[in-house]
Amino acid sequence: MEHTLHLQIWPVLLFPLIGFVINGLFGNKLGNKVAGWFATSMVGLSFIWGVVLFFKYQGAGLHGTAVEQTLFSWIAVGNFNVNVAYQIDPLSLVMLLVVTGVGFLIHVYSNGYMKGDPGTPRYFTYLNLFIFMMLNLILANNFLLMFLGWEGVGLCSYLLIGFWFEDEAKATAGKKAFIVNRVGDFGFLLGMFLLYSAFGTLHFSSIFSEANTLFVDTGVITAITLLLFVGAMGKSAQIPLYVWLPDAMAGPTPVSALIHAATMVTAGVYMVARSNALYSLAPISQNVVAWIGAITAVFAATIALVQNDIKKVLAYSTISQLGYMFIGVGVGAYAAGVFHLMTHAFFKALLFLAAGSVIHIMEHAFHDAGIHDKDPQDIRNMGGLHKYAPFTAWSFYAAWFAIIGIPLFSGFFSKDEILAKSFGFNPWIWALGAFGAILTAFYMSRLTYLTFFGKFKGNKETENHLHESSKVMTVPLVVLGVLSVIGGYIGIPKLLGGSNHFEHFVASVAPEAESIHHLSHGTEWMLLLTSIVLAVGGLLIALAFYHWKKISAEKTAERFGGIYRLLLDKYRVDELYNFMIVQPIVRGSRWLWQYFDAKFIDGFFVNGIASTTKFVGDKVRKVQTGVIPNYALFISVGTLFIMLYFLIW
């Protein structure tokens, strides 16, 4: 059954594509300013089209049915048919609005942040390509087109992390992100192969409608979902493939906000929510997803406790929050997971943009004060910035309250919904999530306090040069600040007298799995109050450390020296991977190069064949005497042999 919308989907993708092509070809001629605003307006148009699509869809009264529009046939080989076709349904609409909306704000902000950078046109080219690829990922109506977007955003991520590629560390960080993602993509590919062999198609609605009715073995579904989740682990930075995300902070800060916080890293969550029909059939996969999410949430939060780089704290915070989303989609509360995805996109994009603004302010202050050896990203150099950067500070507070789950802020509703659902699935997962919540409250409060409150830790000269960032940067901050506050009101749970519009909207395509037990009102209230207590508790502990100085942070670090250093070194996971995987590969490759390639391939095959030919040639050339009678003799002997041959056979 084909539903029509009387409105085309493809223009949404066309705008950023135009921006990419024009900026890619003529960006340097257009100049930084024109290129930047052109790219921004293209994403803006895309957002407007998305909003129109949203209202058209709502007006059509489709109740969650997908509207599909086929552009052209992409691959048609025998029974294997894949179209370039897009679909609109509540899930992709939510993603569409988040990606283009937050993307637009970040584009605006980038105009201020990248001011004066000679690579600006290239930057906006990549950014528009990213939006285009991300839209392919979320609007595709089949797994292969989704995978195209999946790979495309990975490419853009690589290009933008290594944007300042003259710095080798940054180029290396880009490579690391790309290679770690390859591991995940391998799983995704295998999952797709298995999907095709089981269902004979990669088309979403065909697969999902057949998943229930078709006689497909649960084991196969479990294998498919686990393999797809391996892809999600890579893209959405979950244990054990999360190591690339902290390094990805080498890219420009708006990139961290857009790609590595708000949109691309949530692709895994979207994919699981999209494949809900499969995951709901595979309890083992559900458990794996939920447990990995829960462990990641706590694991990353503990690292974030002690980091001193403002972006590193936010990076680990992102990994941790992604863990929460996976708890949501893992336990089968897909709407809750996607809800947190959306609120997180608001407040985490804001946190990164505000951090970018802080870094910008610090950089300029250091520069103007003639200090070159201090790290503008180190929170130990900051403090008391509220006075100098009020817009940045206030919007940062909005995101701070949202992420730690202070009531009435957006993160409160989404995180609480995830925790409540996880309690109905398995109380132990809830316990991990709750523990993560208190850690989150602590590290975010610590970060906020050390950055904006207290006394400035630089010298007087630097302090005189602290100035708030330009309007172009602060306006997106304020908009996102407002969204971080009110973004949760579309999903107020019934318990608090709301009607949870968001859940109804998304649940029409991603209904809750049956694995969640229904909770009584009493239990729900208990969980809600616990969340609030944990959030406020974490906040107060942080204040006790850094404001009231009741507990000395230095002494605590000293007393738990071993643990402190372990956390500061990020559990030395990078070192472990380096020792267990990277080094053996490097050594193996070196052996292959110096022995196998040099001795065997080059020595035996290449040079061996040449020297054998030369040796034989040296021997045989003596036959070529140049004396005619010898040749005549050979001819005669040859003729004799031929005659013998005919005589004998």
Partner: protein, 101 residues
């Protein structure tokens, strides 16, 4: 009494072998040349013998062709030998190895 075909064929074989041996063993270019002629005529003999055996004129016709060809060859070949002798001052083929190097 008719002559059995074996006789002329055997004679032809002997003549041909003498020719081959002559080409292979002799060093004088003119002798080699004559040996080649001998081989040609041995073949002619075989042709005629078989033509008679099978009652067909084809073999006899081909012999005429071979004789014309041999005549042409003699003309060209002798010219080459004369030219060779003028250049090299010898007709010993062992000393004539222009193909080498």
């Amino acid at each position: 009494m008719t002559l059995p075909v074996t006789y002329p064929i055997v004679l032809s074989l002997i003549l041909f072998s003498i020719g081959v041996l002559g080409v292979l063993t002799r060093r004088n270019a003119i002798i080699i040349f004559m040996s080649v002629e001998l081989m040609l005529n041995a073949v002619n003999l075989a042709f005629v013998a078989f033509a008679r055996q099978f009652g067909s004129v084809d073999g006899q016709v081909i012999v005429f062709f071979v004789m014309t060809l041999a005549a042409a060859e003699v003309a060209v070949g002798l010219a080459i030998i004369v030219a060779l002798f003028r250049n090299k001052n010898t007709l010993n083929v062992d000393e004539i190895h222009l193909l080498k190097n």
